[in-house]
């Protein structure tokens, strides 16, 4: 019953996230499936980007492989619980069962070690991306809760195995040595307790996932699949604006019923694409983007990580609003201005360092650009120097105020 309740709540929340993501604008990314699957294997499954820092990558790999493999054992644990059996698979697998459980135990130990290292690293080493004010409040606790939960879950798993005296598994047998003085009854009680805590813990963790930054373990895969395949320097075209310009040059081409597009760029989350919104849910707030950002690392307000966190926060808010009011009810707020300031947007050099660093194929730059488009084209909000640059381009065909006739003046000096 607990199993079905946990699964029910989990799927309900996932469906809600899916509908939030689908509030975004449509965009097609189904071309070149081979290249896209390659990205899934290299970036998501292979964690290629993580290996930019090998030490951390190996520890992260322990947790990742541990997570996947130990979940296989979870199958037995759950079925045991449902049928009231004990180590149901053992008779069928014979000697290989011990080998299998030994592998699980070694992984559990590695996960345990990695999480302890991560917890210590996160809280004692003064790494800029961990002490950053981006993480103040809930996000910082969130990260610690996840690590502590993993440590507790792994301890329970090992303790559970240590209490089944008839078995002699590689890691838990070491723990068994400390339990020698106990009676069979006591051991059985501890095993049962550990079993229950472990299974409840797993379900709780599963349901905590969608509320935490940890959702990347699921979304990294679709996010890698839908990652842009074009060179990173290419910005999305705006066919609506392209047509406006063509119609201005050739009025005869304009259809009689041509209506001007309703808005340009993105002011709020609904104006972004669903990929931008999936990016927001995929973000695990590691901060590699902000550490590499030239603006952030020289003390500017812009932080690509904060762009993603703000997008997710606003999306959650809009999602709740939509459910409460059966459709989004104007709340006088928007992603632009209320969540992300003009000063942040202005500091971006579009250098793509954030996009390059992200291990789960997120593009904070894409969101920054869309918000900038809205700022300029909807609000005519530009710094004076940019307005000067625009008018120079318009009148002199160069961003500076030079006479167009002098464009080839250099040829007379060679």
């Amino acid at each position: 019953m607990i199993t079905s309740l946990a699964l029910f709540l989990f799927s309900k929340k996932l469906l809600r996230i899916r509908s939030n993501i689908l509030m975004g604008k449509d965009f097609s990314a189904n071309d070149e499936p081979i290249a896209r699957w390659k990205n899934v294997f290299l970036l998501a499954l292979g964690q290629k980007k993580m290996f930019r820092n090998p030490m951390v990558a190996v520890l992260h790999l322990f947790v990742y492989v541990g997570f996947i493999v130990i979940n296989i054992e979870l199958l037995e644990i759950v079925i045991d619980g449902l049928l009231g059996t004990h180590r149901l698979f053992e008779p069928y697998l014979g000697a290989s069962y011990t080998v299998l459980i030994n592998i699980f135990e070694i992984l559990a130990l590695l996960v345990f070690i990695a999480c302890v290292v991560f917890l210590v690293r996160r809280n004692t080493l003064k790494l800029k991306r961990f002490i950053s004010k981006d993480l103040n409040g809930w996000p910082r606790s969130d990260a610690n809760y996840i690590l502590i939960t993993e440590i507790v879950l792994m301890s329970l798993f090992l303790l559970m195995n240590a209490c089944s005296i008839e078995n002699n598994f590689i890691v838990s047998s070491q723990i068994q040595l400390y339990l020698k003085g106990m009676s069979a009854y006591e051991l059985n009680l501890i095993e049962k307790t550990a079993w229950w805590l472990h299974i409840i813990g797993i379900y709780a963790f599963m349901n905590y996932l969608p509320y935490s930054k940890h959702l990347h373990i699921l979304l990294a895969f679709p996010n890698a699949y839908y990652a842009p395949l074009a060179p990173k320097g290419m910005m999305h075209n705006m066919p609506a604006v392209q047509n406006e310009v063509i119609y201005a040059m050739h009025p005869e081409l304009a259809p009689a019923d041509a209506a001007a597009p309703s808005s340009f760029g993105a002011k709020d989350v609904m104006d972004l694409t669903w990929k931008n919104l999936m990016d927001a849910y995929s973000c695990t707030e590691c901060g590699r983007c902000s550490a590499a950002c030239p603006a952030n690392s020289t003390g500017k307000l812009l932080s690509p990580r904060k762009i993603m966190m703000a997008t997710r926060d606003r999306l959650e808010e809009v999602g709740k609003n939509s459910i409460l009011n059966k459709g989004f009810k104007e709340d006088g707020k928007s992603l632009l201005n209320d969540y992300i300031s003009v000063e942040e947007l202005r500091a971006c050099t579009t250098c793509n360092a954030c996009v390059e660093e992200c291990p789960v194929s997120i593009s904070p730059l894409d969101i920054i650009i869309e918000l900038r488009r809205s700022l300029i084209m909807e609000q005519s909000n530009a710094p004076q120097e940019w307005n000067g640059m625009f008018s120079n381009i318009e009148n002199n065909f160069a961003p500076w105020k030079f006479a167009p006739d002098d464009r080839d003046a250099w040829t007379k000096q060679v």
């Binding site: 060179p231 320097g233 310009v245 996009v355 390059e356 530009a382 120097e385 464009r407 250099w410």
Partner: protein
């Protein structure tokens, strides 16, 4: 040396093998003009049949687009594509990574399809094909140099090797900065930052990058972008290191070594 324009070539009934897209910085900025002249000299000496658009060239629209002004970008793109398609241009080489990126990646969606290469790639080709011959007294040989990756060549278009190969062809000793290639730090000019003051912060981005360049302790810093060149030169000047560290475009280095 005569630099032909497309209009002149068309009047003569000839077609160049490649169009040299000079860019606004290369045309008007005094420092960048030196890079343009160096590259034109190389093309001339290597016997490349090239032309420029001259007065018909206009801003690609890159800074307007990145600032968020898509209308301005579309207008410039429309105008340039009309000109380029009018001359039936097939191949373009440019000394500016921003022009390069826009012409190569963004014009195709608007009907401008060209084979676009950056001058560092073109130089690499010319050297490999033996079209560029160096003087016997190669003064660059053994000299230490560091290369600054332009974002719009590197991360934006995955071009990391061509500029390095060109420097190595001169037997220079390439010393990498702390952050290089895909981890390279921006000079601070991209995204239309060149045309406005930086936001409030602890440090200027170009000073940060200049400090890394100075820390490499080479006499020369190679750049492949006129904007990076300006930003790094200014940064190094701010640190009063300009006597020890000179910023040069790869085309300028080759031009000094060419026969």
């Amino acid at each position: 040396m005569k630099v032909n324009t497309m209009a002149e070539m068309m009047a003569d009934g000839t077609t160049p093998e490649v169009l040299f897209w000079v860019g606004c910085a290369g045309s008007f900025d005094q420092r960048a003009q030196k890079i343009t002249k160096a590259f034109a000299t190389i093309l001339d000496k290597a016997g490349v049949n090239y032309a420029i658009l001259g007065k018909e060239e206009a801003c690609t629209g890159d800074p307007a687009r990145r600032a968020g002004n898509e209308f301005m970008f579309q207008m410039m793109a429309y105008q340039n594509i009309q000109t380029l398609n009018g001359y039936q241009i097939k191949k373009i080489v440019t000394t500016c990574p921003h022009c390069f990126n826009t012409l190569k990646n963004e014009y195709p969606a608007l009907g401008g399809h060209y084979d676009v290469i950056h001058h560092t790639q073109f130089l690499q080709e010319l050297i490999e094909n033996g079209k560029i011959k160096f003087t016997d007294t190669n003064e660059w040989k053994g000299k230490q140099i560091t290369y600054h990756d332009s974002c719009y060549l590197g991360r934006a278009n995955d071009i990391y090797e061509a500029p390095r190969k060109v420097l190595e062809s001169l037997d220079m000793e390439l010393i990498e900065m702390k952050r290089c290639k895909s981890k390279g730090l921006c000079c601070g000019a991209g995204g239309a930052q060149m045309f406005k003051e930086e936001e409030k912060g602890d440090k200027r981005i170009n000073t940060e990058r200049a400090d890394e360049a100075i820390a490499a302790q080479t006499s020369y810093v190679a750049s492949a972008c006129p904007f990076c060149n300006t930003m790094l030169t200014d940064g190094i000047k701010n640190r009063k290191e300009e006597v020890n560290t000179e910023v040069l475009d790869i085309a300028e280095i080759i031009a000094q070594a060419i026969q």
